[in-house]
């Protein structure tokens, strides 16, 4: 047993940190205790200090990120002061949010082997153990693949396997689900919690599908705004308003229960199970009714602006033999928001690139208003179809946000005054007009993402294709991005977005589900959420869709549920 075996896995007292270049304290007197063997949650919106706290745990603060560190911090019973990062790696394994930057090997097997080699695991044991770890994150058979050829979600799982190889007693996952589909993320949680005695600290801003019975710490502006040692059954209902206020998304059923509790005090059945099917059954057997029939779903109609015909795409050199897209037939309707969903590696990004003409088909064709889109010369194409890449930092280069947004129109030959007008209109649409003179790199991730949208909008394309526009954004920013896309569609633009955020599907007009390079289903969001296509495609249906099934009703957004449920003997309205 190591020293201090009875002490918490993490113990912080008055922990404060101010980045050398930072304006204020990123952490401001944090006190917390995470018991050993527990599954802890560190929650908060972007900028609350979550990642800063994680950095102090493995000593990358202050070793690599300079600034003023105060207070005391113990990890696995030992003080951290003076320890090096590599030394801490034996105690705490961290999967950082920017997982892309954590890959460094030429094959998946070597990537996972790196930590085993550092730990001096005997050479003969390394390959079987590394293979087993790859299998545990669902990457069986990926041993010889080059990490650079994996999809984003596969790469994220690879980093998780590489960190698990440290076998550290404390595992910290900083928003590990950001690039994972819901079923992959469930598998990661199971895996993280599987080692007996391991302590897990999960950093999150979205609790749907997250096990949250353990201790939790809600950060806000660098302070612990509230914390709880464990969540008793139904305790999440009481916590959920505070979570929402802090920019954290509570489990949807808990949030719904909280709304019902507020509208109908004392009328909820007790105990109320908080799993979707259980909660629906409990409400129904207590006599609750679904007041309004769901509004008849009008199937989204409109002219097809883009069309894929037998679209097949095979990447050269990709192993497995299966093409990334396999004879896809699809229509994109004008003026609508179309969401493309699917498990990691199902071909979502490839399809989006084809719709924008960035790739040429291996066979079949993609038409935009009757023209083959990959044959339209790039400048003309940019004026017709905009593509917003997943990483805004791959395109931002100008000194100010305004210049960044004006780049497109100037490229397309617009006169300076006209470029200025388009740039202002685009910045206004994304809510960044007042930041036109800011250096893009002082903007938040969400703002940079919106700037990337503005810089494409400024070319005034009639169709906009976005690859994961909400990844890495906190809830407020995600909602804001969705509202922006809805507004653009309302103004007549056609929107196609690739997304993992199934809870945002309510905001789409049409949903296309991809599975292994084929269209598994398409239709209105309620229809797709109610059907079995998501599950068949390896995705998990959102909690509120499962709740709807419990009522035999069509899925709808949270607030619509809150307004439509009535306790027994209640009238039409509260």
């Amino acid at each position: 047993m190591t020293r201090g075996a009875g002490e918490p896995a993490v113990s912080a007292r008055g922990l404060s940190f101010t980045y050398r270049m930072g304006a204020g304290a990123a952490l401001d007197g944090v006190n917390l205790d995470l018991p050993r063997g527990s599954w802890g949650l560190l929650l908060g919106a972007t900028g609350a200090g979550k990642t800063t706290l994680v950095r102090t745990l493995n000593r990358t603060i202050p070793r690599f990120h300079r600034g003023r560190l105060e207070g005391s911090l113990h990890v696995m019973g030992e003080p951290t002061s003076g320890a090096g990062v590599a030394e801490m790696a034996a105690r705490v394994g961290v999967v950082f949010q920017d997982f892309e930057n954590q890959l460094l090997s030429t094959s998946c097997l070597l990537e996972v082997a790196f930590a085993l080699e550092s730990r001096q695991v005997p050479s003969a044991e390394i390959a079987p153990r590394a293979s087993a770890l790859l299998g545990s994150v669902g990457l069986d058979g990926f041993e010889q693949r080059d990490p650079a050829t994996l999809s984003g979600g596969e790469r994220q799982r690879l980093v998780i396997a590489a960190v698990l190889a440290l076998e550290a007693p404390l595992l910290v996952l900083d928003e590990p689900a950001s690039d994972l589909d819901p079923s992959a993320r469930e598998a990661i949680y199971r895996l993280a919690g599987s080692a007996p005695g391991r302590t897990v600290l999960l950093v999150e801003h979205d609790l749907e599908g997250v096990p949250c019975e353990g201790p939790g710490f809600l950060l806000s502006d660098g302070r612990v705004a509230s914390s709880w040692p464990s969540v008793p059954a139904a305790g999440m209902v009481e916590l959920s308003p505070a979570l929402e206020a802090a920019g954290v998304r509570p489990p949807p059923c808990a949030a719904l229960a909280a709304r019902l509790q507020e509208a109908w005090p004392g009328r909820l059945p007790r105990p109320l199970p908080l799993d979707p099917e259980g909660m629906a059954a409990a409400l129904r057997s207590a006599g609750w009714r679904l007041q309004e029939a769901p509004a008849p779903v009008s199937p989204a109609r409109g002219a097809a602006v883009s069309r894929c015909e037998e679209l097949t795409h095979a990447y050269p050199g990709a192993s497995g033999g299966r093409p990334a897209l396999d004879a896809v037939d699809l229509e994109i309707l004008e003026g609508r928001v179309t969401a493309i969903v699917g498990a990691n590696g199902s071909g979502k990004t490839t399809l989006a690139r084809h719709l924008a003409g960035l790739l040429g088909p291996s066979s079949g064709r993609v038409l935009h208003r009757g023209e083959e889109v990959s044959r339209i010369p790039p400048p003309q194409r940019a004026a017709r179809i905009g593509f917003v890449f997943q990483n805004p930092d791959h395109q931002i280069f100008a000194a100010t946000a305004g210049q960044e947004a004006a780049f497109g129109p100037l490229n397309l030959g617009a006169a300076p005054a006209e470029a200025r007008r388009r740039c202002d209109a685009a910045l206004e649409a994304v809510g960044l007009l007042e930041k036109a003179d800011c250096d893009p790199f002082v903007l938040t991730k969400g703002e940079r993402q919106r700037l990337a949208v503005a810089s494409v909008l400024a070319c005034e394309p009639s169709m906009l294709v976005l690859d994961e526009p909400t990844t890495g954004l906190d809830l407020r920013e995600q909602r804001r991005m969705m509202r922006l896309l809805r507004d653009l569609a309302a103004a007549g633009r056609t929107i196609v977005m690739v997304t993992h955020a199934l809870w945002l599907l309510d905001e789409a007009d049409r949903v296309v589900v991809l599975a292994r390079g084929r269209v598994a289903a398409e239709g209105g969001p309620a229809e797709v959420l109610a059907g079995s296509a998501l599950e068949r495609s390896g995705l998990r249906r959102p909690d509120l869709a499962l709740f709807a099934s419990g009522w035999g009703a069509l899925p709808r957004p949270l607030d619509a549920w809150a307004g439509a449920l009535r306790p027994p003997e209640a009238g039409a309205g509260p």
């Binding site: 070793r63 990062v85 790696a89 030429t106 930590a115 080059d146 397309l412 790199f441």
Partner: protein, 239 residues
């Protein structure tokens, strides 16, 4: 999508199966031989070695990819020396230097195409180079694919906004590279600053020593390859 931008060509040829430490030593000896050889005849004989090895290992594709570059190296060298000295001896000297550069380029390519970065690191470590130093020495080869894939993504993002790189006078064409270079340099800086903490977080330097997944047994072929290279170096040095 650029995919893997590295030069490694996984094929399992006899060059791939050679011990990486032996390959590092042999490469050093071949470079010595090439640098010591001063006659075009000797260099022609030396050039036959990597070309033959490439053919035998099925790596002629890699050589062909850079063949034009090797030819340019040779021609530029001959032209430059000829221009500076304005006599035949100068041009002959230029031919020797150009041939040396071209042969070393091909030798290096064969090494990179048949050796994983990790094998290079491990090969150096087994020759007594400390692991962190060996890691640092081979780091640029690790980062090359990352850098190339970032460059690909950035080019694509700017072209999607209508950036045109071709056409127009030179000075405006250079200006058009600014939207590519700024994000690329920033991406490079970011990966440089995030790499060190990421490596240490993954346990680099956790213990004084390391074990290795890559077995590197010393076989007869490795002895032969080194002996052959040694003989060539000796012949070149004392001829």
């Amino acid at each position: 999508m650029t995919g893997a931008g590295g030069l490694y060509a996984p094929s399992g040829s006899f060059l791939h199966r050679l011990n990486p430490s032996g390959k590092v030593v042999a490469l050093g000896l071949w470079f010595t031989a090439v640098l010591a050889a001063s006659s075009l005849g000797g260099l022609a004989a030396l050039a036959a070695i990597p070309l033959g090895a490439a053919a035998a290992a099925g790596l002629t594709g890699v050589v062909r990819r850079f063949g034009r570059f090797a030819a340019v190296l040779f021609v530029v060298s001959v032209a430059l020396w000829g221009l500076l000295s304005r006599d035949e001896a100068g041009m002959a000297k230029g031919a020797v230097v150009g041939a040396r550069l071209a042969i070393m380029l091909v030798l290096g390519l064969l090494f990179l195409a048949s050796t994983r970065v990790e094998e290079m690191t491990e090969g150096l470590r087994r020759l007594g180079v400390p692991y962190t130093a060996a890691f640092a020495l081979t780091l640029s080869f690790r980062l090359l694919p990352v850098f190339l894939s970032a460059a690909g993504a950035i080019t694509e993002a700017q072209e999607a906004r209508g950036l045109q790189l071709r056409g127009g006078p030179l000075h405006t064409r250079l200006g058009r590279y600014v939207p590519l270079l700024v994000p690329l340099v920033l991406a490079g800086l970011r990966s440089a600053t995030t790499l060190a903490p990421a490596l240490e977080s993954r346990g680099l330097g956790m213990k004084p020593g390391r074990t290795s997944l890559l077995e590197s047994r010393w076989r007869g072929a490795d002895g032969l390859s080194c002996a052959f290279a040694l003989a060539a170096a000796a012949a070149a040095l004392w001829s």
